[in-house]
């Protein structure tokens, strides 16, 4: 018997709104009408997982899978619950295998499977899973981080560092840091028409920033050029130019603009950012990068990613203890920073603190999957597929 449609839908709506208590109550109401609804058990599993109540999540996800072995959102919740609970890697392996079969294109299933293999000390199988994830999505940063950690364990930091850098470059939040430093964190992404920008310096610099945020480098370049034509020593405009060059892989030009901007205004955070990133990308310039990021951390200490960038440059200098401190500070500022979590794990591994490293990797997975909103994608697909009852 199908449940009263209202109860199940109300539970879904409340769950999407994050009203956990009310959603749980609605789920129980729906199950009181029909106990065998896999979608409601899956929903409850997700809600329990959101509250970090792993045993309850496992029980509900298991009930969903028993009711319908193809209930993909339940597999996701079950696997995540096993992983986050810790000490249940063997069950976790089976679940991720199952999910990879039920949803073969789900990149996260392969990443998680790799992490479960790694927790079980099956390193070869773990690497294969992460590579499979990267085949499906070459921009999957968590798989790259995991490969970096694996490389660190096997070959040491020197060979792992390029992978950490590669994973860092896949991190879209680094661009967000630049725009936060620019004061445009909450600004909408809009197309800018240079012809309609007021002909004064402030309007042009502001519009150039917006154009950069919209990845419109031509418009940004036009506006910056106009500013620099009038005032060649405008540090803020030079920093914008540096960022535009940076995004187009023109490192020398970016460096030149950033250095010039800093010679005019030594504490300009956007220029410090650009110069630090240019140095960090060049092999052998970690010391320079660290000095620039230290200056940036002094100017903008409340941004977690600034400390991550500093920590990454310190890793390059083999100053692991200091890198660990910077990563810890970043995690305190933003517990959901996956990049900081993986970096901290790397720092811990260099000190032989394996349990803490493993914890940081688990937390990285926790926040990464939470950020992706995977459950709802699978849930909607499952319910939309007509087999959700």
């Amino acid at each position: 018997m199908a449940g009263r449609p209202g109860a199940a839908e109300q539970a879904e709506t409340l769950a999407r709104q994050g009203q956990v208590g009310a959603a749980v109550a609605a789920c129980y109401e729906a199950l009181a009408i029909d106990h065998g609804q896999p979608r409601i058990h899956a929903l409850l599993a997700h809600l329990m997982l959101e509250g970090d109540f792993y045993d309850e999540a496992i029980a509900e996800a298991t009930a969903a899978i028993e009711a319908d072995p193809d209930c993909s959102p339940a597999y996701l919740a079950l696997g995540l619950a096993y992983d986050r609970r810790g000490g249940m890697w063997d069950q976790s392996l089976l679940v991720w295998h199952e999910l990879a079969e039920v949803a073969p294109d789900l990149v996260t299933a392969h990443v998680q499977l790799g992490e479960a293999f790694s927790a079980a000390a099956f390193e070869e199988e773990a690497v294969e899973s992460w590579r499979r994830a990267l085949e499906l999505d070459p921009k999957e940063s968590r798989a790259t981080y995991n490969l970096a950690i694996d490389s660190l364990k096997r070959e040491g930091m020197a060979l792992a560092l390029p992978l950490f850098r590669q994973a860092g470059e896949l991190d879209p939040s680094q661009d967000e840091l630049f725009f936060a430093l620019l004061g445009l964190k909450d600004a909408p992404v809009v197309q800018v028409d240079p012809a309609r920008v007021k002909p004064n310096r402030d309007a042009r610099v502001g519009a150039a920033g917006l154009a950069l945020k919209a990845d419109d480098f031509f418009a940004a370049a036009d506006l910056v050029r106009l500013v620099l034509d009038e005032q060649p020593d405008d540090a803020e405009a030079l920093a914008l130019a540096a960022y535009a060059y940076l995004k187009q892989e023109a490192a020398n030009e970016a460096m030149a603009c950033a250095v010039r901007a800093l010679s005019l205004q030594p504490d300009l955070v956007t220029a410090l950012y650009c110069l630090g990133v240019v140095y960090a990308r060049r092999t052998g310039l970690s010391r320079h990068a660290a000095r620039v990021f230290i200056a940036l951390a002094k100017q903008a200490p409340s941004h977690a990613l600034v400390h991550v960038l500093l920590a990454e440059s310190l890793l390059g200098l083999q100053r692991y203890e200091q890198a660990g401190k910077a990563y810890r500070l970043a995690v305190r500022l933003d517990p959901a920073c996956v990049r900081a979590r993986f970096g901290l794990a790397a720092a811990y591994l260099t000190e032989g603190r394996y349990a803490e490293a493993s914890w940081e990797i688990r937390r990285a997975a926790y926040y990464d999957t939470k950020r992706q909103g995977l459950f709802w994608r699978l849930y909607d697909g499952y319910v939309g597929g007509g087999d959700g009852q």
Binding site: V20, C27, G51, D52, Y54, A120, P335, Y354, A355, R363
Partner: protein
């Protein structure tokens, strides 16, 4: 106590054990996964007992195998009884006393799997219960004069999780206890389960059943650890969990901290040792009556691909599978030596005048989420009080708060009308209460006691903002904005309360109200729950600082502040008070080395490490105590 002079200083024959604080370890019947149920204690235990004696353990727990003792209905295997006799003799020879556990499940030795039971439940089936009585009386009768037996224990956690109702559990426990008492009136009888972990696991409240025995137990089980504090074991909430659970299980009986040790092989042996050290010292600092370590030897797991690290391997001991001592055993040895010099007849722990109130809603089952949220909120509240260096314990809603001066009510969704009355009377007669809003409608008593009008729940917020309206009124608070998901925020106004701090928009965050002779402090956000539900290992320092500053300030003003203060929040202090001199236990809940500065009310003349050595002259109220990673020190203070 022999071995100490009248002044408490160590003399030549220093004691090696503390008779009032026994330390023991579980000796499981099988140490290898490949062994069969019939291999029950069928090995030479002399080396194990010798090593235990060498470390000066007092207790060892051994387990009875029903399957081996009664292979056929009513037919007992004399060889099994002899084997148990040999085990007890071995213990006695090495100056150890045994806790004999009857109905235990170790998931390996099949101890309760009597083949003739035909899948009937040994907890509820009348016939099987009769057989259990028969077995228990037979064993107890056989060893009733054996001095090696310290206590009879009815079961272990794994067995008790099979009970589905309180009534069944109580009836079973009473029956079996009576059966033992018919035969042996001298030795203690212990139920063998902790109330808090059992209620979490099964929803069965065992408190009343446990009250009928002579000792209570507190055991951090793997599921409870993953529920309450799933992160690293060397810093943060996990390092407070053992003492929190000990306090949770403490009602009227002395509580043994049971199952101390790690659950998995995730950590290095150094991390295992650091965790064991923290748990051991936490126990003696929080009124534990003794300690039982989780396991003597690591279980040797079968190496079968691909799952050669299977769940059994998570049974981690203080020695390796070959008996090789691990660093954790050295920690235990040091702890036993240290605590042996703490004369618990002469020094008594400073009384706790502050308590975290555990709401009754904690016992509610799903779909109520209170049963899931509240224990975590209480743990965070307990940690905040510890970080404020308050002698603190837990108090169940409904228990008499007489004797306490400060109560913390962390993020409760609802309290009973009787509890509101009790709070009103408590504050009116001079007590102080800190209550944080936990969501939902507020009780009308909120206005009366806390002097605020509840205007509604503003709902979810992502940032905690604090602006100081009345500096210095509740300690040294400062303004901040910190990222932390808040599930609720109470909008309050009017009333007689003084607004101490607001959020960024001016809505009160922290208020204080004089009510009768006492003070009532209201926090508009469930900060304890928010910390617990986010990431307690990376909680924003300003939020944690706000909580501990408010807790500390309120308790100080109420006269229940720290007896010994400290400048470092992660350092826990416990003071054992004597006549003229005191003993102070200092424990670091962090893996970084540090020097904690302790401040006492009186001028300290000298400080001596309780284990011996030269007294250091202080002649000041403050002095520094160097602590290594997760370090502990026990110091005797004399006053000038």
């Amino acid at each position: 106590m022999s071995g100490t002079s009248a002044s408490g200083a160590a003399v030549a024959s220093a004691p090696v054990r503390n008779p009032l604080f026994p330390v023991g370890v579980d000796l499981y019947p099988l140490d290898a996964e490949r062994a069969s149920f019939s291999d029950w204690y069928d090995r030479d235990l002399v080396d194990d007992f010798a090593a235990m004696a060498d470390a000066h353990f007092s207790l060892v727990r051994v387990f009875v195998s029903w399957k081996l003792f009664e292979p056929q209905v009513g037919q007992y295997d004399d060889e099994a009884m002899d084997r148990l006799g040999s085990v007890l003799e071995g213990a006695r020879t090495h100056d150890l006393r045994a806790i004999v556990t009857f109905f235990a499940d170790d998931r390996l030795a099949e101890m309760n799997e009597v083949p003739w039971a035909k899948k009937r439940d040994p907890r509820t089936d009348d016939y099987l219960i009769q057989r259990e009585i028969s077995l228990v009386q037979r064993v107890v009768n056989h060893f009733r004069t054996d001095a090696a037996v310290w206590a009879w224990e009815l079961g272990n956690e794994a067995f008790f999780t099979g009970f589905e109702t309180e009534e069944r559990l109580q009836a079973w426990a009473r029956t079996l206890k009576d059966a033992i008492r018919e035969v042996d009136t001298a030795r203690q009888v212990v139920l063998g389960v902790g109330a808090e972990t059992l209620v979490r696991e099964t929803g069965v409240d065992a408190r009343e059943a446990i009250d009928g025995f002579e000792h209570a137990l507190s055991r951090v089980t793997a599921p409870y650890l993953s529920y309450m504090a799933e992160g690293p074991l060397t810093y943060g909430p996990a390092t407070y969990l053992d003492s929190f659970l000990l306090r949770s299980n403490s009602r009227t009986l002395p509580v043994l901290a049971d199952g101390v040790g790690v659950h998995s092989l995730d950590g290095s042996v150094a991390e295992e040792a650091a965790y064991v050290r923290t748990a051991l010292f936490s126990t003696v600092m929080n009124r534990g009556a003794g300690v039982m370590l989780r396991r003597w030897r690591d279980l040797e797991a079968e190496k079968r691909e691909p799952y050669f690290r299977d769940p059994y391997e998570t049974l981690v001991g203080v020695t390796g599978p070959d008996g090789e001592p691990k660093p954790a055993l050295e920690e235990v040895r040091r702890f036993i030596r240290t605590v042996a010099r703490l004369d618990l007849q002469r020094y008594a722990l400073a009384p706790e005048r502050s308590a975290v109130v555990v709401p009754v809603e904690r016992y509610e089952l799903l779909p109520s989420l209170a049963g899931l949220y509240d224990p975590r909120s209480c743990l965070q509240s307990y940690i905040a009080a510890k970080e404020a260096h308050l002698p603190v314990t837990l108090l169940s809603e409904g228990d008499d708060p007489d004797g306490f001066m400060t109560l913390f009510v962390p993020s409760a969704g609802k309290l009973s009308p009787d509890m509101w009355k009790s709070l009103a009377s408590f504050v009116q007669s001079g007590g102080s209460v800190v209550l944080s809003y936990g969501g939902g409608d507020a009780d009308p008593a909120l206005r009366e006691i806390f002097g605020v009008d509840f205007l509604g729940d503003h709902g979810v917020r992502q940032v905690v903002s604090c602006r100081i309206a009345q500096p210095g009124l509740l300690g040294d608070l400062s303004a901040f904005d910190a990222r932390l998901d808040l599930p609720h925020y109470a909008l309050v106004g009017g009333g007689s309360a003084t607004v101490v701090a607001t959020d960024a928009t001016g809505s009160p965050l922290l208020t204080v109200n004089q009510y009768g002779q006492g003070r009532a402090v209201f926090l508009a956000a469930p900060l304890e729950r928010a910390i617990a539900q986010s990431d307690p290992w990376a909680a924003p320092e300003p939020v944690k600082g706000l909580l501990r500053t408010v807790y500390g300030s309120v308790a100080r003003a109420a006269g229940s502040g720290p007896v010994v203060d400290c400048d470092d929040p992660v350092v826990e202090i416990a003071q054992f008070q004597g006549d003229g001199d005191d003993v102070v236990c200092v424990l670091s809940h962090d893996m970084a080395s540090r020097t904690a500065t302790l401040t006492t009310e009186r001028v300290v003349a000298s400080v001596t490490d309780i284990r011996g050595g030269k007294a250091a002259d202080v002649q000041a109220r403050s002095f520094g105590v160097p602590l290594g990673p997760n370090g502990a020190a026990v110091l005797r203070l004399t006053y000038g």
